[in-house]
Symmetry: C2
């Protein structure tokens, strides 16, 4: 059983302001050694970490990000490959998957941690759900590589891999890409899940996620499944159309996934994303968030899951996080999880 | 010192499906006894309360709300007064402030608790920030009345008064109105604040809010203040433009506020709302959320505060709750709270 980290093509480089860039290719043999021809000012992360005395939760103040790049047109896209006279964030003339430090990060510097951008394709107009199986596997391999590397950074407590797809969920660039936040603290949601996992272990002696995933795999809300993974609408879904995808066995993160399982996981991931597009018959804005096990608490929680959801609640209608959700944290879901699961199953038949 | 609950005009009635309606007037002498001429089907709240096993947090499933009324035009507005041939949710031909049970509630029935709608004016085109002082006081008196009544309902743990203003924050009706959710559980944010208050009391022997409010009142982020209340941008604001308003002294909720302080509180509340409109030179979508003390935990926490925020981060730009906020609960604020406070102070000078 080989590790997912032991395989595949990987090229490292440095951008002109000192940021790291990495290329992950579907197969070896591609030259990704082009230099960044820009003369960028030195990279200086400028966020500040404060703590809300009322909730006790950390809040990042990142005022320098107000001027960050916003682009939906292809012509000035910073994620497209560099062309003569048009240098971008990616010096190479072509690439499969590129990962680099975010030029306008919410983490790093005095705060600690790190923000990375993951471009899924050199093609500005693709989307993850339409990429071929090899590319999905390469994306997973890039995520696993970064999970291992970022988990080893001093102070990092959570490596959070995610994609915001679509302007409706706040994506400022339309080029297919995701991000990785390596938080130097445990975010509130992961802290709450850790507390639940500890309580479950104390009471039942096992893994909370193993218990939840086994129950869902045998229940009425399964969307799709393989021998090793299951995708389901969770019993208490917060969002009208929300799917969780998890391994049946305890696997803490992508870096720990046996290499032969990665293509199967990524194929199921792509299948679920296609079902989101199939729900309403057109590309659906979504968030896809990898909840990997907290770096420092693996004895209590060592089982990852992916949370995928759209902010739509019906064709042309949006689920807003209004006062109940935004200010009290009290979620109200207008769609029954069982009905949502049936629609996701049907969406797979159509796509 | 008279209670805020002992003064003012109040008329109670019943809608045709059995829901309660209450009128609060700026002064006595108005006839609000008109009957509901509609023949509505019996009122049947249909929400379900589930618990997310991962976070341990409650989630309401309210599938019956998908068909709720969405209206921004005046002609079919359910909150305008009834006219001959056009009966609405408010039977009276005119009113000052009307409160009634939500016809499409997220709470009630088997779940417990209750959802109420508070219409702030019979005039479809007004906004709270433009209402005269007497009306603001009447709104506060209605909120206080409902806080006392809903706190006494079996099982209610939190009376949450709020306004979602503007379609951008999910308001489905443009008529000036707010809502009250009487939750039969402690919502996650209030639970977190309660935990902080307990820890503060154990360590320092006093009220967390008293300590925070005193520090902010003497700090650089004050927006406006009176002898008894202060409005400030909190040190760890989650939103680019967020203001908290609180009494300097320990007051658990609106029902406990001395009557002579209510007009001063509501005047300051209106002042802050006008500053939101002044920020960008046009009406700003906002949420205004009254965090009253938890009904069952007053020994630990007995100090209310109001959280007001817009989802704008600049003119024409929105703060989206993307993956970091929506999935990890990790907030990133693109505006420094000190800079925001300076803008709020200047917005008051302009309005």
């Amino acid at each position: 059983m080989s590790s997912v980290l032991e395989t595949g093509a990987r090229t490292a480089g440095v951008l002109s302001d000192g940021r790291e860039i990495l290329y992950f290719d579907d197969e070896p043999g591609h030259d990704r050694t082009a230099s960044d021809t820009r003369d960028l000012a030195p990279f200086t992360p400028g966020a500040e970490l404060r703590r809300d005395p009322l909730t006790g939760q950390p809040v990042l103040i990142a005022a320098h990000r107000q001027t960050r790049t916003v682009s939906s047109a292809g012509g000035d896209c910073p994620l497209c490959p560099s062309r003569p006279g048009h240098p971008t964030e990616v010096p190479a003339a072509d690439y499969h998957v590129a990962v680099f430090e975010n030029r306008f990060p919410s983490l790093g510097g005095a705060v600690g941690g790190r923000c990375e951008v993951v471009s899924f394709s050199a093609d500005h107009d693709r989307s993850v759900s339409g990429l071929p199986a090899d590319r999905l596997t390469t994306i997973g391999r890039a995520w696993a590589d970064r999970t291992a590397a970022l988990s080893a950074l001093p102070g990092v407590e959570q490596v959070f891999v995610f994609e915001n797809r679509g302007a409706e969920v706040g994506a400022t660039l339309s080029h297919p890409h995701g991000q990785i936040y390596a938080y130097p603290y445990l975010p509130p949601v992961q802290a709450a899940v850790l507390a639940s996992a500890r309580a479950h272990r104390a009471e039942h002696g096992g893994c909370l996620l193993c218990s939840v995933v086994a129950a869902e795999a045998a229940g009425p809300r399964v969307v799709a499944a393989t021998d090793d993974f299951v995708a389901y609408v969770p019993e208490a879904a917060r969002w009208p159309y929300e799917v969780h995808l998890a391994p049946l066995a305890c696997v803490p993160d992508l870096a720990a996934l046996p290499g032969e399982l990665l293509p199967r996981l990524m194929a199921l991931y792509g299948d679920v994303l296609r079902r989101f597009d199939g729900l309403f018959g057109d590309p659906t804005a979504y968030m896809a968030c990898w909840h990997q096990a907290p770096v420092l608490h693996r004895a209590d929680l060592s089982h990852f899951y992916v949370q995928m959801f759209t902010t739509r609640r019906a064709a042309g209608k949006w689920k807003f996080l209004a006062s109940s959700e935004s200010s009290a944290g009290a979620f109200i879901n207008d769609v029954s999880p069982e009905a949502a699961a049936a629609l996701f199953r049907a969406a797979g038949d159509r796509s």
